[in-house]
């Protein structure tokens, strides 16, 4: 049998209603019956007491004159009371005077009692009443009243109560039907909503709110909960979709990277943050003739030239430890055993938090370039050697030409006609210019040589020396040279003097009508000193900003000069790892800038060292 707990609420409501109704009615019925029995007994007592008084009073004469007939007649009046079974009148001595018995005549007269009394038994009530006349006891009246009436009343009550119970049960049943509508309907709505949600996982379902009571509140909360779950569900779906999208993006990016890496002419690799190679593109295998398995992790070191291996491993370890970019030229062994020069670079890729997630690197075949560079270097060296030797060897004959042409001009001045003197003048001038040119060329070739050891120069002292040597020129053109305090820098004094002398000479030379004003200053910027030489001269067309630093590049034919000055400057500055440039516009003066790194840069590779040497 199903327990009450498990039956549906509809039936529970009905059972509760019916049980309550029945219990209330039964209790009420019991109460009413009990109270009625009590009242009935009370009224019966009162009634019979009055009746017995009347009968006693009416039978005084019969007793007084010993008249059974009259007494019997008096008792006969009791016929009107159908429940009165028996009545007896006794004389004072206890003998029976008269008797009344109902037709069924079940009761005999018992012996009389002395005391008045009402005695209830289960079936009857016995009333005993003493009969007095003028203070003297004449006898006793005794009546027996059957209590069938009470059971009759009980039956009647029982029937009535049963009827009422049936009717109220019917009403309760009907009421519980409407209760069902008020309570069970909202619940069943809720249940069907929860069932739908559970079966379909569709959180857009809402339970229908029918009432404003606790069930209504329950429905509201349930719907709010559903809304919460729905939005969370949606967020989850969106998040999942985003994640899938991100994964697809990552996949696509990865594919793109692979494709790009595979289609590159360079050898591409990636490593773990710890520096273990985990990807190599096709070009590696094609070049080395080895398999991925042979090359990955640290397998690649077997193809590095033994002479470069040490630098390679050391630099790579340094980069992995510090996260600094890796850059190295080295030789790699081709499948046929021939070593080729390569340039390897690798950069750390960092995630949002700045941690290294991987390294991406490329190894480029620079063998051809390297060979050409070497060829060029050798050619350059040869040329320089040739230029130096040529200039050096030319110095002596040129000097002879100049000296002897001057001697001729002095000593044979009178022998020569004006034309001859003029030609000789040209000859002397040409010789002098040739000598200057040779000097400059020598200076230019020497400018590429860094003197041994770390030289320092006090820029202020050098500048003062330059100004002093140019004082005659400055005085002639009424010029003005000013300067800020200048630092001590890592550069040979000769070189700094060459640069400053050339720049200031240029500034004085390319002046306008006005007296030239020149200002020299220095500014420490990005681990280097930036010098500036500003003038108020004729300025330079931006078109020629780059060209002016080339050898023999002269913009102005009407100004004297060899066209080597700025070339020397550039060569010197470049040797120290600096840069030289100009900012100007025609007629607005010009400012030449050059930088000198605080320390001369260290060469990265053997090649750089060799080309510097």
């Amino acid at each position: 049998m199903r327990s009450f707990r498990d039956i549906p609420i509809k039936q529970k409501l009905m059972v509760i209603t019916m049980a309550t109704t029945t219990a209330a009615l039964a209790l009420a019925a019991i109460g009413i019956v009990a109270f009625d029995a009590f009242l009935f007994r009370q009224s019966l007592t009162r009634d019979l007491s009055a009746l017995s008084r009347i009968i006693a009073d009416n039978s005084t004469a019969a007793l007084a004159f010993n008249d059974p007939r009259a007494a019997t007649e008096t008792l006969a009046a009791l016929r009107a009371r159908p429940h009165l079974a028996t009545a007896c009148i006794y004389r004072a001595d206890g003998s029976l005077l008269a008797k009344y018995a109902r037709q069924d005549g079940l009761f005999a007269c018992p012996s009389p009692t002395v005391q008045d009394e009402f005695r209830f038994s289960n079936t009857d009530l016995t009333v005993s009443h003493a009969i007095f006349l003028s203070g003297r006891r004449l006898g006793t009246l005794l009546m027996i009243y059957d209590l069938d009436e009470i059971s009759e009343r009980m039956r009647l009550f029982g029937t009535t109560v049963l009827g009422v119970l049936l009717v109220s049960s019917l009403i309760a049943f009907l009421l519980s039907s409407s209760l069902r509508a008020a309570i069970a309907t909202p619940i069943s709505h809720l249940v069907s909503a929860t069932t739908t949600v559970a079966q379909t996982s569709d959180y857009s379902v809402r339970a229908q709110k029918v009432s404003g009571d606790e069930l209504g509140v329950l429905v509201d909360r349930f719907n709010e909960m559903l809304a919460g779950i729905q939005s969370r569900d949606n967020n989850l779906i969106t998040a999942l979709r985003d994640r899938e999208e991100a994964l697809r993006d990552a996949e696509r990016a990865h594919e793109r990277f692979r494709f790009m890496a595979e289609s590159m002419p360079q050898k591409i690799f990636t490593t773990t943050p710890a520096g273990d190679t985990n990807y190599l593109n096709r070009q590696w295998m094609e070049f080395t003739g080895l398999s991925v398995e042979q090359l990955q992790n640290w397998g690649w070191i077997q193809v590095i030239h033994p002479d470069d291996l040490d630098a390679n491993v050391r630099n790579w370890r340094h980069s992995v430890e510090t996260g600094e970019p890796f850059l190295l030229q080295h030789r790699c062994r081709r499948a046929d055993g021939v070593y080729k020069w390569h340039l390897s670079r690798a950069h750390a890729m960092r995630d949002a938090s700045g941690r290294i997630s991987m390294w991406i690197g490329s190894t480029t075949d620079i063998h051809e370039q390297k060979e050409k560079e070497e060829e060029l270097r050798r050619a350059n060296e040869d040329l320089q050697q040739f230029a130096y030797s040529a200039s050096h060897d030319l110095q002596e004959p040129i000097r002879n030409v100049a000296v002897y042409s001057e001697i001729v001009a002095k000593r044979y001045h009178d022998l020569l006609d004006p034309d001859g003197r003029q030609f000789l003048g040209f000859l002397t001038e040409g010789g002098r210019r040739l000598a200057t040119l040779i000097d400059d060329l020598l200076a230019y070739t020497r400018a590429g040589v860094v003197e041994a050891g770390i030289a320092t120069a006090d820029a202020s002292a050098i500048l003062q020396r330059v100004i002093a040597s140019l004082s005659e020129t400055i005085r002639q053109c009424d010029g003005k040279v000013t300067y800020d305090s200048l630092p001590e820098i890592s550069m040979s004094q000769t070189h700094l003097q060459q640069v400053l002398q050339n720049l200031i000479t240029n500034a004085l030379k390319y002046r306008k009508e006005d007296p030239p004003e020149i200002h020299i200053s220095a500014l420490y910027q990005g681990a280097a000193w930036r010098f500036s030489v500003r003038d108020n001269g004729i300025g330079i067309d931006p078109e020629y900003k780059e060209k002016i630093f080339g050898v023999f590049k002269r913009l102005h034919r009407n100004y004297s000069g060899t066209g080597i000055g700025l070339a020397i400057c550039q060569r010197v500055v470049a040797r120290y790892g600096g840069r030289i440039w100009v900012e100007s516009s025609p007629g607005k003066g010009a400012t030449f800038f050059f930088t000198v790194p605080e320390r001369a840069p260290r060469a990265h590779s053997a090649a750089a060292e060799s080309s510097a040497g």
């Binding site: 007084a64 003998s95 203070g135």
Partner: protein
Amino acid sequence: MLLLVALGLLVAVRATAVDERLEYQVKAAFLLNFTKFIEWPEAAFDTPDSPIVICILGDDPFGKTLDQIVAGEVVAGRKIVVQRIKRLPPPKSCQELFVYRQEKEVLKTLPEVGPGVLTIGEGESFVRDGGMIAFVVENRRVRFGINKTAAVSAGLKLSSKLLNVAKSVEE
């Protein structure tokens, strides 16, 4: 039980029949009981607390029985007293007047008895002769007849209960 009572009654009735003494014991009790069912006018008494006097005219068949019966009885606030007299009583001196059956002359004097006196005699002729209550013995039982007219004209009120138990009532 019923049988026993019936037997007792039978014995008593037979005794009344054979023994006149028993008959007069019953009659004595009746004399007393009459006072309880009859109302006398105030004029029948000397004072409000005067006793009810039962007078026996001439011969006394009761002996001490009547005195014993009325001793200590109080009816309607009045004591009961028995007097034996030889002549007709003066007014207000008797309330009940019993005439024994041997006193035949007395019957002629009945009309002379004043108002307020209940006259009691023996034999049915007594009421015909103007008496108010007459004892008769019927089936060995003492009963009585009543001349209601005589009693009413004497100013007495008879209880209906009394009339109810009377053997006969003369209107």
